[in-house]
Amino acid sequence: MRYSGLRVIAEALTGHKGWKPVWRDPAPQPDYDIVIVGGGGHGLATAYYLAKEFGQKRIAVLEKGWLGSGNVGRNTTIIRSNYLLDGNEPFYEFSLRLWEGLEQDFNYNAMVSQRGIINLIHTDAQRDAFTRRGNAMILNGADAELLDQAQVRAMYPFLNFDNARFPIKGALMQRRGGTVRHDAVAWGYARGADSRGVDLIQNCEVTGMRIAGGRILGLETTRGFIGARKVGVAVAGSSSRVMAHAGLRLPIESHALQAFVSEGLKPFIDGVMTFGAGHFYVSQSDKGGLVFGGDIDGYNSYAARGNLPVIEDVAEGGMALMPAIGRARLLRIWGGIMDMSMDGSPIIDRTPVEGLYFNGGWCYGGFKATPASGWCFAHLLARDEPHPTARAYRFDRFLRGLMIDEKGQGAQPNLH
């Protein structure tokens, strides 16, 4: 069914009896052409685009829990394309363009809101680096602006300009950056995929892979064997666990990232902001909560929770930047498991197993990548060749010395 304001009014007047299930709960069929493992944002987007843009049929998405229970349901909802390196920026800009038309495309209001993102500058070296980055963004067709201190002050007068340990000297701004209602992205893609015949199978965990002669035949699951011509794995956070079923080791570690939301407050912060002298970034949701985060906890973890030191570190960054939030209260802390890759950039590639494809290593950049990741993974699955904007996301880049290391931290995942 099509959603619209008129429909909402009509239903309101008739007791909302007409709303249909947003997705079916089909039983798994014995086999499919393409099976996507992972009913998070990337998996659902992949299925959606496979059906809608690449004319694929007989597609299933297997989710071990509930749809959207991946990191799409536990992130800080930021979208942006303010990357530096050639391997990344075209991809994230492609993603941002997909965000810009997403709601009309899948007829679901995911509240894509381009209220702008600023990265604050505190040193001359940072300004030099952000100037390099901003130019790279524009060369890639994205938007970028360099703001001076007065422009930042006009935008956010309550930041600590006058009594700060690390004075604010300006900011790199991308006006097209912003936030999206994260759960709605999963639901919108799920609804769009389901309505195009994709089987979305919840509570179905992959327990093994059936491989013969170097080719994938299907998946052992908690709901029985499911045959597949092609299998696409999009389970960031659990990538190593799932790919181990195929005997593969990955250039990835799993780490816990905590995120935070405050009690609801009247509008205070319009856009998205990242602190350049501490580990803190923040935006305010439409409901009024300050949504913020910082660093990963820093040790391998599959427990979707963290510890106090990072919580305190994030709060310290927040108070150093915005001393007016001292009396706002932290309402909820949650954790997600990140696929931290060896250079901080993702992987969308074939594997040594014929018919088995991989999408992961998103670190904490996965949410903003959701549309492009789905599109590019669908492209790879359908056509067996990488999408032009995702060509660099190969497994062998580490062997060949072609890392995409935005932070310049080297082969230490917890530093990216």
Binding site: S238, S240, R241, R249, L250, P251, I252, E253, S254, G298, Y299, N300, S301, Y302, A303, N307, P309, M342, F398, L399, A411, Q412, P413, N414
Partner: protein, 94 residues
């Protein structure tokens, strides 16, 4: 988390800096091993969901590098040894 330091007893993990999988101790010999071997050693991980041996550095303590055995599903720490002792036990004596 609390790390049971073999010399100093229980210490808050906040005093430590984390590196990663203890397999990083097995560095290939740069005079004999090639790019492939170094690549597999430096970039590839088991990343287990469960028992994990990993390297922690007591930066705000006695500067010992430790090999900590920890469950990545529960964060339960099962033991800690001085990395130097482990390395020497692996034959790194001369």
């Amino acid at each position: 988390m609390i790390i049971p330091h073999p010399l100093l007893g229980p210490r808050d993990a906040q005093e430590f800096v984390y590196l990663g999988d203890a397999s990083l101790m097995n560095r290939p010999d740069g005079m004999t091993a090639g790019i492939e071997a170094f690549h597999d050693w430096l970039y590839q991980r088991d990343n287990p969901a469960g028992i994990h041996r990993e390297l922690w550095y007591h930066e705000q303590g006695d500067r010992s590098w430790l090999v900590v055995t920890r469950n990545t599903l529960t964060h339960e720490i099962l033991g800690a040894e001085l990395a130097r002792d482990v390395a020497r036990a692996m034959g790194r004596t001369k």
